[in-house]
């Protein structure tokens, strides 16, 4: 089994590591000289992210070539193999014939196959060292038939590059990049969303007092996320994970002068700390279980080979799930996410679509070998990951119903959609999860920026108090918002339809004999709720009577970043306060459409919300007419193929193979119907005023339910009221008692002893002995000085004479001695 031909990665792939570096440089530059540039400071960030976006496009194009080349190389080699096979002995270890004939699709765990896997991992070992980008053709196509497609199974070796960061005690810490399909995909998503957010922000936060600070942190945020997705080892992963957290802290608390905003930032940070403990524990367990290696590929490969004990994998998976809970806003650590709406709206879009919360999903996808084998995903057991995801789908959607703040509706919607992704990862539909991440990024960013556009006009986020009838004032925003909503709900043929459908199909088909059916039901109910609450949101925002425009007292604190041109219209003058109700009452009689810097990003995102779904159109079932070259491109390009990812054909240690769901017309129609029912119910309730309105006033049960939702399932009360107060109250009192009675006695005793001892030391040792020595040395120095001052005549020539005499003496000594 020799590597047949070298598949080379293109320029953009090999040098993708410059992308985060560019953004980091932009951060430094913006912070350094931004103040001098004033409003033009944003151009640094926009130029940097623009370059990165072009780079990401280049990387994607070259990645497509790279996958193609790998496939061809594998096929060419496959032909060679077949020839050799005819002549050689039958039953060589890696015989593909044997694999094909006796095994069919992945039900073996024979010695031969393990040998093949071993060979694959050996191949990966050396490919990650040194400073060279190594991208070689796989040593062997493992087995020939893929699941349904008739492609030869081949490996796409990730493009890696490493440098030694530092080494300590025999452990080498490396920094590097690991570029495979999902990284390349994330590069595109992050740079695109970030670019649009940058452009949007130039209008949205124009005139903010910390304008440069804002753009600097946008740059750093992008840099951290871009670095995170190409992290080559878990140390780097953790570091950049934390950096992402820090940046989100800084941006959520951008308007920290208001206590609620800085509280929200703190809450986000501290909640994430809780999960970070899980991340650290999980990664440390993996480090030791995998034989002291930080390398992500190696850890996953070992996990897939069964070289890591199952117990270790379970512990690591559960710990890492805690990290996902906090980072990706999963129940029960989701509480920070809605509060994070305190940040500027473009930041919310960035956090919810491309960076922060996506990091958790990405981490699971990245360490999927660990989760797959640790939780026996794909086996017939309900696992923690899927349960957490399922709970989040329903919990988040439920809360979205009672919010009056448009951003909070979207925030809970994000919580719910992230639940879908985690659930999909939990049932084994890896590609569906990442695909949903991909599509969700576009339409959710579109929704957030749309909400930003609306709030920009009415200076409020409150749908019930300040919005309504916005369709008439902002038709362009309305249409983009509507398209993105359609994509979120999953209306055919918008983006969300394809990705959500794939998740539901995964829940229905994977995991053996329908063991994940419960999650199909959960997902469908979630789809119904999504449709309903988004219809409510659209109604409250864009239909009905305009309820805003009432003159509040201007909130001077933020509104008055003076521009020196008071008669200038709104576009220049929105001081950036989110909570600033009609701060500029006089020129805000009526809201009006936003400017081009806000609308263009909206158009782009709405366009992507329409077309993004087509990158993974299935070609099975009723869609079998879709040509092979167009179908399932997302899966084809971005799903990892290699020993570090669960194999499609060979059962891992848990005895299950990775599989793809196929398109199921029933599920597609079912989910669409469910969504339409949701829309219909919500339409009847809000638009037509049908149904038992006011039931929360009449019926105690309904009121209790509403309260329950309104208080967000009392999670905040649990955390601050019970857990935090528990520490503050009884435990603090107990500690105080112990402190007063127990510790104080000891401390007092020690103190008295110390005073006595100190006095003795002072009188005897210090006064008599130490002082004697000190004074003695002082007198001695004075006497010596008196003697030697005789020699200091101040006459230069005397000094010179002494010098010469001394030289002569030393020279004489030197001659005599030698």
């Amino acid at each position: 089994m020799l590597a047949a031909e070298t598949v080379t990665a293109g320029f953009f792939l090999e040098h993708a590591y410059v992308v985060p570096l560019i953004m980091a440089a932009s951060f430094a530059l913006t912070l350094g000289i931004g103040k001098r540039l004033g409003r033009h400071a944003s151009w640094i960030g926009i130029a940097a992210i623009g370059v990165c976006f072009l780079f990401a496009i280049g990387a994607n194009v070259q990645w497509a070539d790279y996958v193609q080349d790998s496939e061809h190389a594998a096929e060419a080699e496959h032909d060679d193999e077949s020839h050799a096979e005819d002549e050689g002995e039958a039953g060589t270890p890696d015989s593909e014939e044997e694999g094909a004939h006796t095994e069919g699709v992945g039900t073996t765990s024979g010695e031969d196959d393990e040998h093949a896997l071993g060979a694959a991992s050996d191949e990966i070992g050396p490919s990650v060292d040194g400073e060279t980008a190594s991208a070689r053709a796989p040593p062997a196509p493992a087995v020939e038939e893929g699941e349904g497609g008739g492609h030869a199974e081949y490996e796409v070796v990730p493009v890696t590059k490493t440098w030694t960061w530092w080494s300590n005690g025999g452990v080498t810490f490396e920094a590097g990049m690991l570029l495979d399909g999902m990284t390349v995909m994330m590069l595109f998503v992050v740079t695109l969303i970030s670019l649009l957010v940058h452009v949007f922000s130039t209008d949205y936060v124009a005139g903010d007092r910390r304008y440069t600070h804002y753009f600097a942190f946008l740059s750093l945020f992008s840099a951290a996320m871009l670095g995170f997705v190409m992290a080559q080892n878990i140390v780097q992963l953790i570091t950049l994970w934390e950096l992402v957290g820090v940046c989100s802290f800084a941006l959520i608390g951008h308007w920290w002068e208001d206590k609620p905003n800085s509280d929200a930032a703190l809450k986000a940070f501290l909640t994430n700390r809780v999960g970070d403990i899980g991340l650290l524990v999980g990664m440390i367990v993996l480090f030791f279980a995998a034989g002291q290696t930080f390398d992500i590929i190696e850890i996953n490969t070992l996990a897939n080979e069964g070289a890591i004990s199952h117990t270790a994998l379970v512990v690591a998976s559960v710990a890492l799930i805690a990290a996902v809970m906090s980072k990706s806003g999963q129940f029960i650590l989701h509480t920070w996410l809605p509060d994070a709406m305190a940040g500027p709206t473009p930041v919310s879009a960035l956090i919810h679509a491309a960076t922060m919360v996506v990091a958790g999903i990405f981490m699971v996808a990245r360490m999927y070998g660990v989760f797959w084998n640790g939780l026996v995903i794909g086996g017939s057991s309900v696992n923690l990951l899927a349960v957490v995801g399922g709970l989040t789908v329903l919990g988040g959607a439920g809360l979205a119903f009672v919010q009056s703040d448009i951003k909070k509706v979207l925030a809970y919607s994000t919580v719910s959609q992230l639940g879908y992704m985690v659930m999909a990862l939990g049932v084994g539909a890896w590609t569906a999860a990442l695909f949903h991440l991909f599509t969700h990024a576009f339409f959710k960013a579109g929704l957030f920026l749309g909400a930003g556009s609306v709030s920009h006009a009415v200076h409020s986020f409150d749908m019930k108090k300040d919005m309504g009838g916005m369709k008439k004032f902002m038709p362009k925003t309305f249409w983009t918002f509507l398209i993105c909503t359609g994509a979120l709900i999953g209306i055919f043929p918008l983006a969300g339809f394809w990705s959500k459908d794939e998740i539901l199909a995964g829940a229905a088909q994977l995991g053996g004999s329908g063991s994940y059916t419960a999650f199909l039901i959960v997902g469908s109910i979630g789809a119904l709720m999504t449709a309903a609450y988004m219809t409510r949101c659209i109604y409250l925002t864009f239909f009905g009577e305009f309820r805003g425009g009432h003159a509040d007292t201007p909130d001077e604190e933020h509104a008055t970043v003076s521009h020196g041109e008071e008669d200038h219209p709104v576009d220049e003058d929105h001081a950036a306060d989110a909570l600033d109700h009609a701060g500029h009452g006089d020129h805000h009689g009526e809201p009006h459409e936003s400017g081009p810097r806000i609308l263009v990003p909206l158009y782009i995102l709405a366009g992507l919300a329409v077309v993004a779904g087509f990158v993974n159109v299935p070609d099975s079932g009723v869609l079998s007419w879709v040509p092979e070259g167009l179908a399932l491109q997302f899966e084809h390009l971005f799903e990892p193929k290699g020993g570090y990812f669960p194999s499609l054909t060979e059962a891992g240690p848990a005895g299950v193979t990775f599989a793809h769901p196929t398109f199921d017309l029933g599920i597609a129609i079912g989910s669409t119907v469910v969504a339409l029912v949701g829309i219909g119910l919500s339409y009847a309730w809000y638009f037509k005023g049908l149904g038992p309105h006011g039931i929360t006033g009449r019926n105690r049960l309904a009121r209790a339910g509403y309260r329950f939702l309104e208080n967000k399932y009392y999670f905040d009360h649990l955390y601050t009221g019970v857990i935090a107060a528990g520490f503050k109250g009884p435990i603090a009192r107990a500690v105080n008692w112990f402190n007063q009675k127990g510790l104080d006695g000891v401390v007092d005793g020690v103190g008295k002893g110390a005073v006595g001892g100190g006095r003795f030391v002072y009188d005897q040792i210090d006064q008599r002995f130490v002082d004697g020595v000190v004074n003695g040395s002082g007198f001695a120095a004075e006497g010596g000085g008196q003697f030697f001052r005789q020699m200091q005549t101040g006459k230069v020539q005397q000094y010179a004479a002494i010098l010469f005499v001394a030289s002569v003496i030393f020279a004489g000594v030197f001659i005599i001695v030698i």
């Binding site: 005789q790 200091q792 005549t793 101040g794 020539q797």
Partner: protein, 102 residues
Amino acid sequence: MDDLMLNQFLLLGAILFATGVYGVLAKKNAVLVLMSIELILNAVNINLVAFGAHNGTIVGSVFALFVIAVAAAEVGVGLAIVLLIYRNRKSVDLDEVAQMKG
């Protein structure tokens, strides 16, 4: 270079050195003292060059060049000091410059 030649150079160096030491110790005029110091240094230079030529290497000459460069700097600093002393006291008599007496 043979031993006889070398001896002559060393003799010249010794005479110059002795003259220099005498000047440094006995002269009252600061400028003369500086010049005497130059004599000492140049005596050393002659020795260096002579030994270098004797041994057939250029090390001695290189060293002598360094000494000349350092001597130039030293004379620059020394003359500056002398000049300042003259401006302050209208005299360069070294016996009068004894403020550093302990």
